[in-house]
Each structure stands twice: as C-alpha cells, then as structure tokens.
Point group: C2
Chain length 207, copies 2
C-alpha cells in the first residue's frame, strides 16, 4: 500500500483545499438536482452536453487511478478521495469527523436526496457506509486499522436530513480493536447501532 | 410511506430513461474527474462556475424532497433516486441487479476512484452499501423488506475495478427473511461476506 508524500507547505495545502473543496461542493449540488429536476427535454440534453464539456476540460491532466491517501511533508494526511469524508469526492457528504469529549469520534452531517433508499429515508447501506467510516476512524486514532467485521442493527428508520454518527473504542485485544457506534436522527433517537472489529494490518505492526 | 403512481405509458417511461440515464452518466464521469483532475487553477474555477450555471438551469423546476419510489400505471417500479441502483442518482454506480440461476440476485459492476477507501481499494463501507442493496433485493422479490440487521465479514481487500455481488435467501421465519451474500473481486475471490435479516414492515403485512 502506497502513501505518496507531496512536496507542499501549509499555504499550498490551504490553496488546494480552497480550490478543490468548492468544486466538489458544486458537483454535490449537481448530483442532487440530477435526481430531482423536472426541467424540459431540451434543458436536460443541453445540461448533459455542458457537463461533458466541463469533464473533458478537467480530464486534460489527471492522476492515474484513485486519489489514494497522500501526506504533505509536514505529515498532514490528505484523504481527499475518500468515499465518505473526501474533500474532492462529491459522493461523500462529506463527513467531518471530530474527537468527542468522551475520546470517541463524532460527526454531524446532512443526507439529502442522493442518499435515499425507501421514500424519504436514508438507504440502509448508506447508514452502514457512514458508520464504517466513523467506527474505523475511532479505531484508528493511533494506528491505521482496516475493517474486519461490522455488524449493524437497524432500530428505526433514519429520515433524510440532519444525522449524527458517533463511535468509540470498547476494548483492544492484540491486533483487534473493538468499536461501538450509533447513528442518530434529528431528534436524537438512535436509528442504527454498530459493532465493529478493526484489524491492525500486517504492514503496520511493529511500527 | 408514500408510493406515487405516475400516469405514464411504456413509451414515456422509455423516453425518460433515455433522457435521465445519460444525464446521470455524465455526472458520474464528472465526479470521477473532480477527484482526479490536475488541471490548473483557472480551469478548476471556470469548471465550478459552469457547473453552478448548469445546476441553476436544472433547478428551475424540481420535485420536493427525494425522488422516492414511484410506480407507473402498469406497475413498473421506478427507484431512480436509489443511492445504489438509481438510474438518476450519480452516487449510484448504478447496480443493475438480476435474478441468478439459483434464484438469488447477482450484479456485476465497476467501482472507480469515487468508491475508494484505503489506496486502490474499495471503501469498506461501500462494500456494506452494495451488499445491503443486493441482500435487500434478494429478500424482497415477493414483498418489500427493510434491513433489520446486517453483519459483514471482510475476508480480503476489494481492489477498485470490476466487482460482483451475489445474495440469496437462506430461510424465512415469519416476518424475518434471512439472507446471505458475498462480494467478489475480478479474480472471483470472495472479499466480503454478509448475513442479513430483513423485516417485512408492518404496513406491508397482510397484503
């Protein structure tokens, strides 16, 4: 597994965040309206053509494969392609995950039309997606950990709208970190609870 | 839970599929290049402005809330906003899920840069996302079912690229349908296995 180091300082990092973050935000809004638009046929066809033109311009220079996980020389980790928290990934809400007072991880975010499963409700798989990320981050504060098992219990539907995810370490046994987490709706009800076992990968042991 | 019926025939359904499907496909390509582009600052800024313009045009007329689940008068179900299989949802790869010879469900699809977690690998939560969908569809061939529990075991990393998901009913006990499923990499190895319990919702019982 490769973690390239980019030769950029804090100013250049901030410049790139300010450039690529808003680009991804505009794409997030486009995703939403691509689902919800009731525009006429000509408008839709013209929109598709314009998007193809923009994509072509952006494609002139691009990296091979995914964005990966990159570091700056000062050790800042850039997970900008991450499907849940990536600054440049319009699929990601994106989650901003912060350390909570109890030492666990917490994130408040909003899930709109693009995250729907049953009518008006967050897709059950999207609940799993965000809980995997937040549980994984709770497990990985000191060392990287990959998901070993993840068990989800759906207690009630999660309405589209504001959502909170929380996770914290339950215990550590050797290379296994046991994590528990929950998803909450806007009224503070637990909608989904999660138990995960995260594994310290072989390449990170002995570090 | 509401399931609107749209007054459209097969021709109009086909027209809308042919209009909105390609629009979402162009947005999928834009998502990919938004992550991977190494274009210069002016190109990025101009791209963001053009996308905002397109979004504004598409936004002139739009539905309230999510797309939901709609039916045509002839009973065709439109889950076009679905986060995994939605024709109009650019977050969705989208999965086309088909009945397999064993009576279960099967889907072949490709996951690119937008679905990345660790470098070069599918995000563990994305594995859960697609397995929830395919397991849920295996559970719901006759009646609708919502996820009750979902347990995932990550057996090996899933590289970005072609992926297969399969799921089938293990047994049915009252309102609970027990489903098993797997994710496979391009070489046919099982990368993630899943066990799910899907629940027939109260509003669908007695139908």
């Amino acid at each position: 597994m490769q973690f390239p180091v980019e030769d950029i300082d804090a100013d250049e990092l901030a410049r790139r965040e300010a450039l690529f973050g808003p680009l991804a935000d505009t794409v997030r809004e486009l995703i939403d309206v691509t689902i919800r638009s009731e525009a006429d046929e000509d408008t839709i066809l013209e929109a598709a053509q314009r998007i193809r033109d923009v994509t072509k311009r952006l494609n002139d220079r691009r990296c091979e494969g995914g964005f990966g996980v990159r570091f700056t020389e000062h050790g800042h980790m850039m997970t900008w392609g991450n499907a849940v928290s990536g600054l440049r990934n319009a699929i990601a809400p994106p989650l901003v995950v912060e350390q909570a007072a109890d030492g666990g991880m917490c994130s408040d975010f909003t899930l709109g039309a693009a995250y729907e499963g049953p009518p008006g409700l967050v897709h059950g798989g999207v609940c799993a997606l965000v809980l995997d990320q937040v549980c994984g981050m709770a497990a990985s504060t000191a060392k990287p950990n990959l998901t070993g098992t993840l068990s989800l219990r759906y207690r009630r539907p999660t309405p589209l709208g504001p959502v909170r995810a929380r996770a914290r370490i339950d215990r550590i046994e050797g290379v296994k970190t046991f994590v528990v987490g929950e998803l909450y709706d806007a009224d503070g009800n637990v909608t989904v609870s999660a138990e995960g076992v995260f594994i310290l990968p072989a390449w990170a042991r002995g570090r």
